[in-house]
Amino acid sequence: MSRIIRPYGDTTGDGMVQLSFTLPVPHDKRAEGAALQLAAKMGLDGAMLVHAKPIGDGYTFFVVYGASTHLVNLDEVKVVEKDYPHLSPKEVNDAIREKLGRKLCVVGACIGTDAHTVGIDAILNIKGVAGEKGLEYYRELRVVNLGAQVAVPDLVNRAVDEEADAVLVSQVVTQKDAHLHNTREMAAAFREALPPGKRPLLVVGGPRFDEGAATELGVDRIFTRGTTPSDVASYLVHRLVTMKESV
């Protein structure tokens, strides 16, 4: 497979993409020209403006098709590699029991004003997701699920009280970057409250995070769409059992 690729419409290398957007201008020829200018700036060659529709008086919605002139270099793609082995629930339990010798404590919550618990519940509750049981099902994990709209100070206090090994935080609302602000606030609060060695592993998740932004947000790991409980359990064992042991 070539390492340099282009989008594919119906022929290899044609570069074709579809684009839609609204411009804050009334619909006229100039608006259409503006739409094509934007398409050109985005690197579309021979852009076809196939749909323009006025919305109210001052806006126009456009659909544009065209060939992207940009090349994608697969060698330059950065992905967060799954740098740990995938374990079954039994393997997780065995590893904790044998190597840690005590239950591993996980505290979970939706912080800030976020009340979307379905995602964190999918990871934590017995019911689980995608045919997998949640972390509560793992005998060697002790799960404390604080639910929705938990204030960051409450989360920190509870994590300290429970002597949490890991804190799992979900953020689904992303408007005005709420998920990023809340995550940064949470990371800062833990950093302030606890010295490095005592700090629980900080894990955040939600459908719109960029997995590569962990360091920037001050957390240890980010999980996104399609995460399953065993992904998380395997990671926890890797970081809190295997890696600690090998140090």
């Binding site: 109210g56 004003t113 009340a115 379905v118 709209q149």
Partner: protein
């Protein structure tokens, strides 16, 4: 002109009987308790507005002071209006109380009579405003007209900034919306006060405030005339301040309010007792104001499965109906909710939706049912999303739904963009026009898939109601019966704001609403 299901009237009657029985203990609790928000709502009806420099409303400062000194179990009206004798108005009293300069006490004898009369007069003034708003709405509807079609088209705006919301709402109305809902900022429902004034900062929604209500209603009055139909305005009475927001909505002529008997409990972890007490009062206010309530059964299906838990929707609708009737809301104000949330991968999913939607339609023939779009099974595939929304619209037309909340193709991505709304309205317009009379051709056979499914759901609902009657509704909620959320009666937020009414409890608003203010 909607298809008819072969439901056994005896079973339907049994379902209602059980719902009434299940609701009664909770109604008894609601009648025998008060909450800080009920008391603050009374102050709002009495005309107290404004907030301290930190943004804490004077109703809170005043109620807090009374609560601290004499508690709320007697009702705060008498202590407040007794103390008012030394102040020109409630606001000045609140200032002083906030500064710690007022001693509150329960008046007795002649003082009590004076305070009582004063309180009653003040609160009646609030009810006058509500009554006037209601007449004004009636007059405007008579003058400008209702939407020409059913379902009414319900659109949300959610910028967080009332001054961005207004033009977007006006544009939406011009593009075809009949009802505008201003989505509330996440978090407001957990605030134990109602913010003041026009607001420009909210997350995924705009704060519900009296001033925001006023601004938006005024803007929509203007637009109503332009488009030749009265555009209704909706907001949320749910949350810790349900009664106060209901009062504000009544006075500012909102037309519909989201008001569910259990939403706050299940999805905001608000204490069940607090919720039921607040709910009763708020619904009484809505009844007075002629406001259509919108219940929140759709939400259960975002956490529970829409097929497995279909009967919990029916049960909740019956409970919501019962609580609403008890609070004085007639059927035409009962916007019971349900939703198109079956996994589209399920075979015959569309026919299952039709079965559920028809069941609701037939159980509540006079209620303006609110039909909610797919959300749970929407994904980032916006092309598929627009298609699902089209079938949702179709189910709404085929089953005679009353209010159609317009689904957005970007449901799984962002709060709606301007263009999303436009695409969604175009979708609704196409389906409503292309299939206008299709219900005329829709005759599910009496022993067919749809009829059987509807009867099955009804049967399961009756069974569940039976179990709830046996266990008690509060226990059922604690056990995760609705939306798989487990909420014990002594858990959740706001319990400290609830008090059992004392023997001598008196609240002029409650008295008027209960009709025993003679």
């Amino acid at each position: 002109m909607t298809a008819e299901l072969p439901l056994d009237p005896a079973v339907v009657a049994e379902a209602r009987r059980l719902a009434a029985k299940a609701a009664q203990p909770v109604v008894d609790i609601a009648r025998s308790h008060t909450t800080v928000s009920v008391e603050r709502a009374t102050l709002r009806l009495a005309g107290l507005t404004g907030a301290d420099p930190d943004g804490i409303p004077w109703v809170n400062r005043l109620a807090d002071a009374v609560q601290e000194q004499v508690g709320i179990e007697h009702g705060i009206a008498l202590p407040v209006f007794h103390a008012l004798k030394d102040f020109p108005d409630l606001e000045r009293l609140a200032h002083a109380a906030a500064a710690g300069g007022v001693r509150f006490a329960l008046p007795t004898g002649g003082d009590k009579q004076t305070a009582r009369a004063r309180a009653q007069a003040a609160v009646l003034h609030g009810f006058d405003r509500i009554d006037q708003s209601r007449s004004r709405r009636d007059a405007l509807v008579a003058e400008i007209g209702d939407p020409p079609q059913r379902p009414w088209i319900y659109l949300i705006v959610a910028t967080g900034d009332i001054y961005e919301d207004i033009p977007q709402a006006q544009a939406a109305a011009k593009a075809g919306a009949d009802v505008i809902a201003v989505i509330r900022s996440t978090g407001q429902s957990l605030l134990d006060y109602v913010p003041e004034g026009a607001t420009r900062e909210g997350f995924a929604g705009t704060y519900a405030t009296g001033e925001n209500f006023r601004l938006m209603r005024a803007a929509l009055d203007e637009t109503s005339r332009e488009v030749g139909r009265y555009i209704r305005l909706t907001n949320y009475a749910s949350g810790l301040c349900m009664p106060e927001i209901a009062a504000l909505a009544g006075m500012h002529r909102l037309d519909m309010m989201l008001n569910d008997s259990m939403y706050g409990i299940l999805f905001r972890d608000i204490n069940p007792i607090r919720t039921f007490v607040d709910q009763r009062f708020s619904r009484q206010v809505h009844a007075r104001a002629g406001i259509i309530i919108n219940t929140g059964e759709d939400n259960y299906l975002t956490t529970a499965d829409a097929v497995d838990a279909a009967h919990t929707v029916t049960v909740s609708q019956l409970l919501n109906e019962r609580f609403a009737h008890e609070a004085g809301l007639p059927d035409p104000l009962l916007g019971l909710g349900h939703a198109f949330e079956i996994n589209p991968e399920v075979p015959e999913s569309f026919r299952l939706e039709l079965a559920h939607a028809l069941l609701a339609r037939q159980l509540f023939p006079d209620a303006p049912l609110k039909w909610m779009p797919p959300t749970k099974h929407m994904t980032g595939d916006v092309f598929r999303g627009n298609l699902l929304d089209g079938f949702f619209n179709l189910a709404g037309v085929m089953t005679g739904q009353s209010i159609l909340l317009v689904g957005m193709m970007t449901e799984a991505v962002v709060t709606p963009w301007l263009s999303d709304r436009d695409i969604a309205l175009q979708n609704v317009r196409y389906v409503l026009s292309a299939c206008a009379g299709l219900a005329e051709d829709f005759y599910p056979p009496k022993d067919g898939f749809i009829a059987n499914r509807a009867n099955q759901v009804l049967g399961e609902a009756v069974d569940l109601l039976g179990r709830i009657v046996d266990d008690g509704l509060l226990n059922a909620i604690a056990d995760g019966t609705f939306g798989i959320m487990k909420r014990p009666a002594d858990g959740g937020r706001g319990l400290d704001g609830v008090a059992k009414r004392a023997e001598d409890y008196w609240n002029p608003a409650a008295a008027i609403l209960d009709g025993d203010h003679a």
